[in-house]
Symmetry: C3
Subunit: 326 residues, 3 copies
């Protein structure tokens, strides 16, 4: 596996300096571990010190670092080296046969009333139920379930084990027992959505669960019924959104964060890892709520005190009154 440097700049733009276009790289690697056959990149100016020491055959750098890079060896100059690197990985994958497949694997179970676009791929052991729609160039990798009437847009990537359109968790309570509310809605997923392994997106109760264009979901995420996730929002692994919550566009939800039901999150809201969102958020910004980790013995003391925190506050108030009066 290798790629000509000239083929890279021909495809992606950028300026190649200090190397012949016919020079080849055999891999892509981080600066610190790159060998003499590797293309690397410097996206964060903080790591500029690593540049001089790198053995990489060629480094993608921003215009401001052109001279520093050339002092070391070959470089490709591009406005945003990280985005350029991302596009090189795409070029690499296509050049080495990891491009998208198309068609329906013979082991998949696709209902005759489902619509699968001829350019889409339904991989091994997938299930596509009645009335489901799989848009152009969308790929169901393997062992994916798309339930009845659920719709995926174009160029989506759905990883193994994903379940789209299982019933939302809805019950009425009657004399101590749960009466099932049949989930009559579906799931609607836009274009360019990626969904990680074993993630679940439930169908709506009456209306649909909606995932807008460009949303990226990592693995093992739970999206409950009637959730709405805005364009280009990204959610990391093991996060969860409870029923009927509406998340804005361009949000980021870090790993294992939870958002309770029936909330509204504005655009550009960023939730930190393991934070539990219990009320709506109308202002963009970073929000956090995590118990700080400590050595266990320290934690035990602090946690015990935490359980009396309200009383501590009252003792402070009493002290304040006493010293005021004294």
């Amino acid at each position: 596996m290798s790629l000509r440097l000239g083929a890279i700049v021909d495809a992606l733009g950028g300026e190649l300096h200090g190397a012949h276009p016919d020079a080849e790289v055999a891999r892509i690697a981080p600066l610190e571990s790159a060998g003499e056959d590797a293309l690397s990149f410097l996206s964060n100016p903080r790591y500029q010190a690593q540049l001089a020491d790198s053995r990489a055959a060629c480094v993608i750098v921003a215009p401001a670092l052109r001279e520093a890079a050339l002092a070391r060896g070959a470089c490709i100059v591009a406005p945003d080296p990280y985005v350029y690197f991302a596009r090189v990985t795409q070029l690499w994958a296509r050049a080495h046969g990891q491009g998208p497949a198309r068609g329906i694997h013979p082991s998949a179970v696709v209902h005759e009333e489902a619509q699968v676009h001829p350019t889409a791929w339904v991989g091994p052991l997938c299930v596509v139920e009645r009335g489901a729609v799989i848009g152009a160039h969308t790929q169901l990798k393997s062992r994916v379930t798309v339930g009845e009437r659920c719709v995926l847009g174009e160029r989506c990537i759905v990883h193994p084990g994903v379940v789209i359109g299982a019933d939302g968790f809805g019950f009425a309570h009657e004399r101590g027992e749960w009466i099932k509310i049949e989930q009559l809605g579906a799931v609607r997923i836009g274009d360019d959505v990626e969904i990680g392994a074993n993630t679940c997106i439930d169908r709506g109760a009456l209306d649909d669960t909606v995932i807008e264009d460009g949303v990226k979901l990592d693995n093992l995420i739970q999206i409950a019924h009637n959730v709405h996730i805005g364009r280009h929002t990204a959610m990391a692994g093991c996060s969860a959104v409870a029923g009927s919550t509406r998340i804005g566009a361009h949000c980021t939800i870090a790993g294992a964060a939870s958002i309770v039901g029936h909330l509204q999150l504005a655009d550009n809201v960023h939730i930190s890892t393991n934070t539990v969102v219990t009320h709506s958020i109308s202002r963009p910004g970073q929000y956090t709520g995590v118990f700080p980790m400590d050595e266990n013995a320290q934690w035990e003391k602090n946690a015990a005190t935490l359980r009396q925190l309200h009383r501590l506050r009252e003792r402070i108030r009493a002290l304040e009154q006493k010293t005021q009066g004294g």
Copy 2:
């Protein structure tokens, strides 16, 4: 898709007022978004103000709201409108061909020594292993695994990706290595249990893991070996129960809550979202332990102080002694 109002009251009881029984509804919708072709419901008296404004063709209401509803238009009066609504969704699903299937899909892999009731449904790409038992009217939707000797009762609904009867996580420790304890028990699941997508219920080590009648489990839940969950308990998505814990009947466990191993929870215990249950609970009630979310800068200050909380308490004590002595 439509349903006659007369067919609804014929099937479910309740009194139809202000509309001819032959009038039809084309959908079921929440009060605020219902159009003129929709049946809606008012279950929470707090939302009574929405009633007058709703365009719904017909609204399910409690007896106390009959007059208010009639002033607006047609209504069905029923003692518990939310339960009635739940039953209407069931009627709707049956009327529109979303009723339970029966039989074994040809792509499923069912061991010849498994017992599948003739009225049960084993959906596409399921695995049912040796000695497993699937009770009457139980539905394995698709891509479900039921392991050796595991038993499901009647009328259960098991969503895609569920794994029943994987090995519990049991090892002995010997000179820094883990020696596997073979998990010789199984899983026993009662009647009317629903299990959400990609949820896992492990087999017991020596005895069985037990899920009693009427339990409802949402998606991505982990039930470890030898857990026992009492009748009609409901657990929301991403919650987890560690080994050998016993949860009572009629409990609710909110999303992403965790219950550590070897505990006992009484009946009617309610655990809040993301709460970690670290000791047994003998009294019914609501239990909570969640770090409150804040803007990140605020959280940082408070979290830093929290790590010194025990020392703060000692400083308060010192102040109290000083002002006492003063």
Copy 3:
């Protein structure tokens, strides 16, 4: 199902006292529930009181408890009764036909360029992609996906629903949209690794994700791209490790704990349940960060105060200055 006591000590060593080697046990059971046909074990000296009351046919005990055990009835004396018990469960499983299978189930989809060792087992409805390697005696139970070029060592056990080698979650950000970074690495898994149901291990971005020998992973775990987990580390259910984090050998990560990305954890680090690890840990030990659960009303008061904790600290400081000056 039964086993001769003599066959047990012949296979596993230990001394049988107080029973004829031809005596049989029909099950293995905990001390408190063991009937007269059961073999039991006493691994924790704290439970010695249960020994006298147990009805078990035979009890595995440590040498120090030989006399106490013999006063009650038959026993097997072994240096570590819990490890001995673990090996008995293995003997039991083999004797009763639960031993490992070998071959490829006809419903599995195995790429012609994958390498499956003749002693390995690829169970029903598994997917093994191009270039994947499955080592000797390794078992993929059912509905497991092993992605392109991913490698599993020998004697691994992989439970249903596991996804090895889905794409890591990597994107560059450009004008509000996410540009996919193709994940060009793979997953390398050592020998004697066990992976629980529906757990996900993502492929690396450029280098590989690595799971070393003897690691044990429970269910529903998320291992992100480029993570490295050291030998004989065990992780309990629903825990998660974010990208590029390196965990040492002989660590334990309790249930639902999260470790953020780009950290280093030393050997012999133990993380408590639901703890969020937000910085690297260089010293062995137990680390914890969990909000203590309380009755909801108590929690509400304490949580409200927690949001003002930094100001409380300032009030204490003010009081200290006042009383100092007084």
